[in-house]
C-alpha cells in the first residue's frame, strides 16, 4: 500500500482570497495557552519543521503525480501561520523522505487539526512513515493546541488511502458531494482527540453534504 497522498481542492479555494479589501485587517490570530511539557513518543523524529529550502529539495517527492505542488503563497501561508503543522522527515544524506502539512482552525467544539497533505517519496514507502507523520500532527493538535479532533479529506475512489486512514483510527464522518473540482466526491474523515471525551465529533452524519455547507475552506 503506497498511495498515501491526499489531494485537497480546498487548498485551491483558499488561494483566491489573496486580494481582498479586508485582507490587511482581517487576519487575527489566536494562540491557545501552552500546557506543560509533553515528550514525543519515541521513533517519530528524524522529523523536523519544514523550511523554505525544503521546497527546493522535495522534487522527487512532488514529481509523484498524486502529490500536488501548490503555489508559493499557499506553502508560505502554512509556514507563517502553522509552522508546527508542517513537518518534514529527512533521511541520511539529508534526503527528503516525506512531509505533512496541516493547520488548526475552528471554534468551540469544532476546534480541530486538519491534514492538508501528507506524502512519502517512492524510495521510502512501506516504512510506516506516513503513519509517523500523521501521529505527529495528531499529537500537536492534541497536546499543544488542545483540539477536539483531526480531520482530512480524501477522494472517495482512493481506496488504498482510505484503508490506511482507517487503520490509523480515522472514520468516515461524512461524504462531500462533488468536492474535487466539482466531479468526484470527497470523504471527510475524522479522528477524535483526548479533549473530545465522548467522541461526539466523529459520530457520522446521516446525509451527504455539498461543498457549500462546509464550515471551513
Amino acid at each position: 500500500m503506497n498511495l498515501l497522498q491526499l489531494r485537497c481542492n480546498r487548498a485551491f479555494k483558499n488561494q483566491d482570497s489573496s486580494l481582498n479589501h479586508t485582507t490587511p485587517s482581517a487576519l487575527r490570530f489566536i494562540k491557545l495557552p501552552f500546557p506543560a511539557g509533553c515528550p514525543r513518543q519515541r521513533d517519530m523524529t528524524t522529523i523536523r519543521r519544514f523550511c523554505c529550502n525544503d521546497l527546493l529539495r522535495f522534487t522527487s517527492v512532488n514529481l509523484d503525480h498524486l502529490t500536488e505542488t501548490f503555489n508559493m503563497s499557499f506553502y508560505m501561508t502554512y509556514l507563517a501561520r502553522w509552522p508546527d503543522y508542517f513537518q518534514v522527515a529527512e533521511g541520511p544524506g539529508k534526503r527528503i523522505m516525506g512531509y505533512i502539512m496541516g493547520k488548526v482552525e475552528g471554534q468551540g467544539e469544532s476546534w480541530h487539526g486538519h491534514v492538508t497533505a501528507v506524502t512519502v517519496a517512492h524510495e521510502y514507502r512501506r516504512q510506516q512513515l506516513a503513519k509517523k507523520l500523521m501521529n505527529l500532527l495528531e499529537e500537536v493538535s492534541d497536546k499543544i493546541d488542545k483540539a477536539y479532533f483531526v480531520d482530512l479529506f480524501v477522494r472517495a475512489s482512493n481506496t488504498p488511502a482510505i484503508k490506511m486512514y482507517e487503520k490509523l483510527g480515522y472514520v468516515i464522518y461524512r461524504r462531500v458531494l462533488r468536492y474535487y473540482s466539482g466531479e468526484e466526491d470527497g470523504l471527510d474523515m475524522r479522528k477524535a482527540l483526548s479533549r473530545d471525551v465522548e467522541k461526539k465529533s466523529i459520530i457520522p452524519l446521516k446525509r451527504p453534504i455539498t461543498p457549500d455547507e462546509l464550515e471551513y475552506d
Binding site: 490570530f29 514525543r40 522534487t59 509523484d64 505542488t69 508560505m76 501561508t77 501561520r81 544524506g93
Partner: protein, 1011 residues
C-alpha cells in the same frame, strides 16, 4: 475594522458592501458603476476613490488607476479633518503595490503616522510598508515606537527581527546584535517572555554572538519551559553545549535524544561529533547550502590519539548496540546506519578497517536490502572504500543473493538493491558488451516474472519492480555509447515506453525518455514528456533544467517562449508577494519564519537560472524579429538598447549566484546541463560522479551570461554602424559614424574576444585564417557560435572603421566576404556530414539551428540596415559623386551577402525538407527493424524481444485485467511513429524559419537591385 461604527472609510458600510461583493465576484463593470454613484455623493472621499482605483487597476487600466490613487492621496494630505483610517490606506496600498509604486503607499502611511503619532493600527500599516520595501532599519525604528506604546512582546520581537535582518541580509554590523540582545534582556527582566518563537529568536541572537553559555543559562531557567516538546529542547541544549566546547555534556544530551527517538539520524551524527570532539557537523549550517549537499558526512579525526579514538569507538558501539537491542520496531534503520557510520570512521582513521565496514554493509543488506532506499542509504559509506574493496563487497553481496527472502516482494526488492549497488559502484562499466547484454536480459526477465505481484495494485500506484526498467535503460544506453549501435538506443526508448504503457505516471521513465528524445532530435516529443510531468510553481526552479538547455538551442520558439514566460512569471510573482507573506509571519508571531522568508527570497533572486532566463527571453525576441529591422529596433528600444544587459555582463563576475537545480534525477550520461557523455568521451570510466559540480558550473554559467548579455547591445551598435556610410577621406578621419558608437562596438568586440580567450588582434587573425581555409574550424572548439557572432559584429564595425585595414582603400570592407565564407563553409560542411536524423541521433542539429537563428540572423540584421542605407527613401537629397560610388560599392557587397545567405538557407531548407518528406513508414521501419534481429547473435533487440513476447499473449489470470489490457495496447510501431513525428516537427520549424528568412532576403534583393 471595516465595520467599526458601521462605517467603512467614513462611508456607511451598507453602501460599500455591494462594491466589495462585486469586486469579489469579479464583476468590475458593475463595481465601477456603484462606485461612480457613491462618488457622486461623496466626491471627496479618499476611500471611495481608492475603491475606484482598485477596480480600474483590476480592469487593466493602470494609468487611470494611478491618477485616481494620486487624487485620493492628495485629498488625504490636504483635508485635515478627514478620517485617516487604515482601511483607506490599506486599499490605496494594495493599488499602489500592484502599480509598482510601493514608495507612494509608504509615504501615505508616513504622513498618516505623522498626523496620528500613537495610532497602533496605522503604525502597523507603516511597518508593513517597510517590510515590503525591505527597509530593515525603518522597520526597526517603527517597531521600537510601537513597542514603546505598551511594551508589547510582539513589537519588541518585530524590532529584534528587523535588527537580525540588517545583520544577515543587509549591511548592518554584528554589533547591532548586541543592541537586540540588550532589548530582549531588558524586556525579559520586566515582563518575561511568552512565546516559544520569541525564545528561539533570543537563542539565535546569542548564538550569532557565540554567547552559548548565556543561552544555556536561559534554557535551563524559567523561560526554558516555553519549549513544550522535550526533544526540541534537548536538541537546542545539545547544540549549545557542543558549540560551547562542552562535548561531554553535549554527548549526554544527544544520547538522551536518541533514547527518546532512536530514528534521529542527525542526532546520531551530532552524538558522534561530541564523542570525537569534532565540530564539523554543526559548522555547515550556512544559508545557501546546496540543495543536494554532499552525501559524505564531514568529519575530523586527525586530532585524536589511538587510545582516545579506540575508547570513543568502544563507547559509541556499546551505545549503538544498546539502541539496537531496545528497538522493537523492525523498520528503524537508524541504529544500523549508526553502526555503518562508526565503521566508516574507523576506516578513515586507521585505513585498515575495510573488512569491518564491508561486514557491516552486508549486515545492513540482510536487514534492509529489500527497501527501495537501500542504495541511497549506503552510498556515502561505499565512498570510503577503494575500487577493489567496493568490488569485493559486491562479490560478497552477489553470493548472498542466492539466499533471497521467501517473501516474493522482499526478494524482488533485494534483487533490485543488488543491481542498483552494481550500478552505483560503476561495475557496469567494467562488464563486456556480452555481459551487459546478458544483465539487461536478466533484468527484463525479472521485471516480467514479477509483474503478477502488482496485479491488484491501483494503476496510480507505483509497481513492484518498476525501477528495473530504468536500470535496463541505463545499461542499453551504455551499450549504445560503447558500440554506437543505434539499435540499443532505440531499445532503451522502447523499454521505457513499454513501462509507461503499464504505469503511465512513472515520472522516472518520463525524465529518462525526455533526455533520450532530446538526444534523438525529437525535441517536441521530449517537451511533451516534460509537460506530462506537470512541472509547476517551485518545481520550475528545480526541474526545468531537464528541458530548458535543449529548448534554447531549438527552433521550437513558441514552446520555448512559454517555458520562459511561465518560469519568469512564477519567480516575479513570488518576489512581489513574498513580503506580504513575511508580514503574515510577523503577525502570527512566527519570528523564525520571518528571517527564513527573506533569506529564501534572496536565494531565488540570485538564482542563476532566473538570470539566464531573463537574458534568454530577450535574445529569443531578437531572434524572432530578426527578419524585420524595424521590429528588431523596437525590441532593442524596449531593452534600452541593451545598456542594462551590458551592465549585467559587467557585474556578473562579482554577483553571488545560487544553484537550485535538482540534478539527482538526471540520467548517468548527462549528469549536469553542461555535460553529455553521449556527445563525446566519457570522463572517468569506473565510477560516475553524480555530485553537484557547483564550482565548475558557476564558472560556466558566469561565462555564458557574460557573453549572452552583451549580444543585444552589439546588435544595436551593429545596426548603428551599418546605418552610416563610410568614406575613406582624411578630413572625416575615415569615418562618418558617431565615433562613440564605433568605439563602443570596438570595446565590446575586444571584450567578446577576451571572453573567448584572445586579444582583438589575435581573434581577428584567427577568424581570417579560418575563413581562408588556413585553419580548421576545430580551432573554435565548442565556442563556434560565439566565434561566428564575433565575425558578424566585426564586419558591422568594419563598415565604419579601417583600423585593421579591412577596407583595402575601398568603401566596403573585405570582412563581408569573411563572414559570408565563414558561415557558408561551416554550415554547408555540417549539412554534408549529417546523415538522416532517423539513423544518427541529433549530433549537429542544435548547432545548425543556432547557426541559422543566431550569427546568420544577426548578419541578416546588418544586411537590412545596409539596404536601408543604400536604397534612397525618395525625399533624400541628391548625393555627391563620392557618396554615390560608396553606395554602389556597398550595395554590391550587400548583394553578395544576400546571395550567400540565401543559398545557405536554401540548402538548409532543402535538407530539412528531404528529411521530412522521406516516407514515414520507411523511417518507422528503420527504427523497428533495428530491434528485430531477435538477438540471435547478440546485439540489440534481446530485451525488446522479451517484452514483445510478454505483450503478445498476456496471461490475464496471472496479471489481472488492468495490466493485461495495458499490455494489449502496447504498440512499438506507435512509438516509432511518435519519434518520427517528433523529429519532423522540429525539422518543420527549422524549415519555416529558413523559408521566412529566404523570403525576407529575396525582398531585400529586389530593393537593392534598384540601386
Amino acid at each position: 475594522m471595516a465595520s467599526k461604527f458601521g462605517l467603512a472609510g467614513g462611508i456607511p458600510e451598507r453602501r460599500v458592501r455591494p462594491i466589495w461583493d462585486a469586486i469579489d465576484s469579479r464583476q468590475f463593470k458593475n463595481a465601477l458603476k456603484i462606485t461612480t454613484t457613491l462618488l457622486s455623493k461623496h466626491p471627496n472621499s479618499p476611500y471611495a476613490l481608492a475603491l475606484k482605483a482598485l477596480i480600474l487597476e483590476r480592469m487593466g487600466k493602470p494609468d487611470e488607476a494611478l491618477s485616481v490613487c494620486l487624487n485620493a492621496k492628495e485629498l488625504l494630505y490636504k483635508n485635515e479633518s478627514l478620517l485617516m483610517d487604515d482601511l483607506t490606506l490599506s486599499t490605496l496600498q494594495i493599488v499602489f503595490q500592484r502599480l509598482d509604486h510601493l514608495e507612494l503607499a509608504t509615504s501615505c502611511y508616513e504622513h498618516a503616522c505623522g498626523k496620528f503619532p500613537n495610532n497602533l493600527e496605522l503604525m502597523m500599516g507603516l511597518f508593513n510598508c517597510y517590510v515590503r520595501e525591505y527597509s530593515f532599519v525603518k522597520q526597526q525604528q517603527t517597531a521600537i515606537k510601537m513597542y514603546k506604546l505598551g511594551s508589547e512582546e510582539r513589537f519588541l520581537l518585530w524590532a529584534v527581527c528587523s535588527i537580525q535582518l540588517q545583520v544577515l541580509c543587509g549591511n548592518g554590523g554584528e554589533k547591532l546584535l548586541l543592541l537586540a540582545e540588550g532589548l530582549l534582556k531588558k524586556h525579559v527582566a520586566s515582563h518575561g517572555l511568552h512565546e516559544p518563537e520569541a525564545l528561539i529568536v533570543y537563542f539565535s541572537i546569542l548564538e550569532q554572538q557565540a554567547k552559548y553559555g548565556d543561552a544555556l543559562d536561559i534554557l535551563g531557567g524559567k523561560l526554558g519551559s516555553l519549549l513544550m516538546i522535550e526533544v526540541d529542547k534537548l536538541r537546542i541544549q545539545g547544540k549549545l553545549l557542543a558549540r560551547a566546547g562542552d562535548y561531554a555534556a553535549a554527548g549526554n544530551v544527544y544520547q538522551k535524544i536518541l533514547e527518546l527517538c532512536g530514528d534521529d539520524w542527525e542526532a546520531f551524527l551530532h552524538y558522534l561529533g561530541c564523542l570525537f570532539e569534532d565540530d564539523s557537523s554543526w559548522s555547515c549550517e550556512t544559508i545557501n547550502v546546496p540543495i543536494n549537499p554532499p552525501k559524505f558526512v564531514e568529519c575530523k579525526l586527525a586530532h585524536l590519539t589511538d587510545e582516545v579514538f579506540d575508547s570513543c569507538v568502544e563507547n559509541a558501539l556499546a551505545f549503538v548496540q544498546k539502541l539496537q537491542a531496545e528497538t522493537s520496531n523492525d523498520s528503524l534503520r537508524n541504529p544500523y546506519l549508526a553502526h555503518l557510520e562508526i565503521e566508516r570512521r574507523k576506516c578513515l582513521f586507521r585505513k585498515n578497517n575495510d573488512d569491518g565496514l564491508i561486514e557491516a554493509l552486508l549486515q545492513y543488506y540482510l536487514r534492509f536490502g529489500h527497501l527501495a532506499c537501500f542504495t541511497s542509504d549506503i552510498e556515502a559509506f561505499l565512498q570510503v572504500l577503494s575500487q577493489e574493496k567496493q568490488m569485493e563487497f559486491l562479490e560478497k553481496l552477489m553470493k548472498n543473493s542466492n539466499s533471497l527472502s521467501a517473501v516474493p516482494t522482499k526478494a524482488l526488492g533485494q534483487s533490485i538493491s543488488l543491481l542498483k549497488t552494481q550500478e552505483l559502484i560503476g561495475n557496469m562499466f567494467r562488464l563486456s558488451v556480452a555481459e551487459l547484454e546478458r544483465s539487461a536480459v536478466q533484468m527484463a526477465e525479472l521485471y516480467c516474472k514479477n509483474l503478477p505481484l502488482s496485479k491488484d495494485l491501483d494503476p496510480q500506484e507505483s509497481m513492484h519492480g518498476e525501477e528495473l526498467l530504468s536500470i535496463v535503460c541505463n545499461v542499453l544506453v551504455q551499450l549504445f555509447w560503447r558500440t554506437r549501435d543505434l539499435g540499443y538506443f532505440i531499445e532503451a526508448i522502447m523499454v521505457l515506453e513499454f513501462g509507461l504503457t503499464i504505469r503511465r505516471y512513472a515520472w522516472q521513465y518520463k525524465i529518462l525518455l525526455l533526455h533520450l528524445y532530446s538526444y534523438f532530435g525529437a525535441l517536441s516529443l521530449a517537451y511533451e514528456r516534460y509537460k506530462s510531468l506537470d512541472v509547476k510553481n517551485i518545481l520550475m526552479e528545480t526541474v526545468s533544467h531537464h528541458i530548458l538547455p535543449q529548448m534554447l538551442a531549438s527552433p521550437l520558439w513558441t514552446d520555448l517562449g512559454n517555458l520562459l514566460k511561465d518560469y519568469l512569471k512564477f519567480m516575479d510573482d513570488h518576489f512581489r508577494e513574498s513580503a506580504d507573506l513575511t508580514f503574515l509571519a510577523y503577525r502570527h508571531r512566527n519570528y523564525s519564519k520571518v528571517i527564513e522568508f527573506v533569506q529564501f527570497k534572496e536565494r531565488l533572486q540570485h538564482s542563476n537560472q532566473y538570470l539566464l532566463a531573463r537574458v534568454e527571453t530577450q535574445i529569443l525576441q531578437l531572434k524572432q524579429r530578426a527578419n524585420n529591422i524595424e521590429e528588431e529596433e523596437s525590441i532593442l528600444e524596449s531593452l534600452k538598447c541593451g545598456v542594462d544587459f551590458v551592465e549585467l555582463s559587467n557585474e556578473i563576475g562579482s554577483k553571488s549566484l545560487t544553484f537550485n537545480e535538482d540534478f539527482q534525477s538526471r540520467p548517468w550520461w548527462t549528469p549536469t546541463t553542461e555535460k553529455n557523455y553521449l556527445l563525446g568521451p566519457f570522463e572517468g570510466t569506473s565510477y560516475y560522479p553524480k555530485e553537484n559540480l557547483t564550482k565548475e558550473r558557476e564558472t560556466s554559467v558566469r561565462g555564458f551570461v557574460e557573453r549572452k548579455s552583451i549580444l543585444p547591445r552589439m546588435i544595436y551598435l551593429s545596426i548603428q554602424c551599418a546605418s552610416v556610410l563610410y568614406k575613406d577621406s582624411s578630413d572625416t578621419n575615415g569615418s562618418l559614424a558617431d565615433p562613440k558608437t564605433s568605439s563602443e562596438l570596438k570595446s565590446l568586440l575586444e571584450r567578446y574576444a577576451k571572453m573567448l580567450g584572445f586579444s582583438l588582434n589575435d581573434a581577428v587573425d584567427l577568424v581570417k585564417g579560418v575563413s581562408r581555409g588556413l585553419k580548421p574550424y576545430e580551432v573554435f572548439g565548442s565556442d563556434v557560435i560565439d566565434w561566428l557572432n564575433f565575425a558578424v559584429f566585426f564586419n558591422a564595425w568594419s563598415l565604419n572603421s579601417n583600423e585593421f585595414g579591412q577596407h583595402d582603400d575601398k568603401c566596403t570592407p573585405g570582412s563581408w566576404h569573411l563572414v559570408n565564407s565563414l558561415l557558408e563553409n561551416y554550415i554547408l560542411s555540417k549539412l554534408r556530414s549529417m546523415g538522416p536524423l532517423i539513423q544518427s541521433p541529433q549530433g549537429d542539429l542544435p548547432i545548425l539551428v543556432q547557426m541559422v537563428t543566431e550569427p546568420l540572423a544577426w548578419h541578416g540584421v546588418v544586411i537590412q540596415s545596409c539596404v536601408r542605407l543604400c536604397v534612397p527613401s525618395g525625399k533624400k537629397k541628391k548625393k555627391s559623386g563620392s557618396t554615390d560610388q560608396c553606395i554602389s560599392l556597398l550595395s554590391h557587397a550587400v548583394r553578395d551577402a544576400i546571395q550567400s545567405s540565401c543559398s545557405i538557407l536554401e540548402e538548409v531548407a532543402v535538407w530539412s525538407q528531404d528529411q521530412i518528406k522521406s516516407s514515414e513508414d520507411n523511417k518507422i521501419d528503420i527504427l523497428v527493424s533495428s530491434l528485430k534481429r531477435n538477438g540471435q547473435n547478440g546485439g540489440p533487440g534481446q530485451v525488446f524481444h522479451i517484452l514483445e513476447t510478454l505483450a503478445s499473449s498476456p496471461n490475464e489470470t496471472e496479471l489481472g485485467n488492468q495490466i493485461s489490457q495495458a499490455l494489449r495496447a502496447w504498440s512499438p510501431v506507435d512509438v516509432g511513429r511518435r519519434i518520427v513525428t517528433g523529429q519532423s516537427r522540429v525539422l518543420l520549424e527549422l524549415y519555416r524559419i529558413c523559408e521566412s528568412k529566404i523570403k525576407s532576403l529575396k525582398s531585400l534583393k529586389q530593393q537593392i537591385a534598384q540601386v
